[in-house]
């Protein structure tokens, strides 16, 4: 199966507001999700300017933007996409 693309914004704003905590997410994933994503750290995606600063940290999962990203939110979106 094709892996999901998880892009973590590592612009300084996202980094300061929590992205630094998400970089190791692959190692912390529950067993049903592990190995199903390619995690990449990206330079600033510009979302904190376009959208809202306080929505940081931003991540994209297969192109879907997740605001105020937390590991739980990412897992939920992964499951949603897996079921679809």
């Amino acid at each position: 199966m094709k892996k999901m693309q998880l892009e973590i914004c590592c612009g300084t704003t996202c980094y300061m507001l929590g992205a630094n905590r998400l970089l190791n997410i692959e190692n912390e994933m529950p067993s049903d999700l592990r190995g199903k994503t390619d995690v990449r750290a990206l330079p600033c995606m510009g979302l904190c300017n376009e959208k809202e600063l306080a929505g940081a940290p931003y991540v994209k999962l297969n192109g879907h933007v997740i605001e105020n990203a937390t590991a739980e939110k990412i897992y939920a979106k992964m499951r949603e996409l897996l079921e679809a």
Partner: protein, 464 residues
Amino acid sequence: MIDGSVFLRRELMIRFVRAFNNGSLETELDRFPVEMRPRQGNSSRCCIYHDRAVIKYRLMNLLGFSCEEETDEARTLASYYREAMTREKPADITGRLPLSVCEAGCSECPSSQVVITGNCRGCFSRPCMYNCPKGAISVVNQVSTIDYTKCIKCGKCTSVCPYHAIVKTTVPCETACPTGAIHKDNDGHTRINGEKCISCGKCFAKCPFSAILERSQLLDVLKALKNGEKVVAMLAPALMSQDAGPIEQLFTAVSRLGFTDVIEVALGAEETTAAEAAEFREKMNAGEKLMTTSCCPAYVELVRKFIPDFRQYVSTTPSPMVFAAGIARRKHPGCKVVFVGPCVAKRVEACRNGIDWVLSFEELFAMLAGKNIDVISCEPWPIPRPAIDRARNFAKSCGVTEAVISELGGFADDFKLEAKAIDGIDRKTVTTLKMYASGKLPANFLEVMCCQGGCVNGPCSLRK
């Protein structure tokens, strides 16, 4: 997810810098509280109005004023901004503290006490009652009850209860404070006692409401850079342990903020190492018993305020920050210097030693965020003369000791080096220091670091 109070602090800093860069800070300042907590939105406290008040006071601190200085509650942030923009240098903090309690933000936690919770089953063996050294516990209506006139809060009962039904509540800032500087005044408001506070920042790091605020110099640095002044950024070695990127790229990122030059404080640490080792040899050869390090400013404050007699043992060698400032000023005559680090107490030391400004790592990164500078997109900076590893290790516990030992290695001396370290200042440290002074604890070289693990775990660290 990061801590909510850390998030708020950083979000505010980034907004602050962005607005400054757009030239709209003066007009936006008074709008921030409302924009960040709009009427329809959620609040982090009881209501949006409380949140807005806290945001206002946080902004006051970012402008360089402590909440305690407020005399007119109706004074606008724009008015504070105008005053801040005309000051020549940030308020002198000698004799005053960099930290203060934000009354609006403080939850005024009830004093620490031992409490029997609803989980008590009124058991037959009653270990709480039999283990209480003061006979403060009795069983009334099948529930253990504490006589607070007798309780000494030793907490023995909390550990023996088989139902974990007894808890000892704490006040996080008071518990974190190693010198008993935090107390409640007669009105029940938490205050920091200036005579006891060593500016270690442990309360700042531990308050879950983030109600302890640091008087910032961010605006002063932003203003100087905007006016095209010659400013050199001196980056503390702890920056390399913040998971923020390779040092060469960090240098490029920081230089893009408009600094004339960026230098490693670790270069100053090399000079500190040499001077500290020389001072140690000289003192030991002169028959002295003990010398301690002096690069941790919170420790120096502890000695100054609590055991002035111990001062004779503290090395007189300047800290890496002071040496680094010398390097910067020789290279760029007439420049201003800003120390960037994870430390609150450095603000006090900087003030005493003519360092122009101090920024925290968080403030530096807010400046980067404000200019959309990403460390990972920056080209590596060709550092003309990188500091040696042992100097960069000053930020970790025992780093200073290792550097001094290797510096001493080349000499054959009559005395034998016996190095010990105090890794983290707590309430027992004063007693421990006295034991080293009297010889009850053996050592002739003592390293003292206020933060456990060293500066890398400083209160303004980015690793949160």
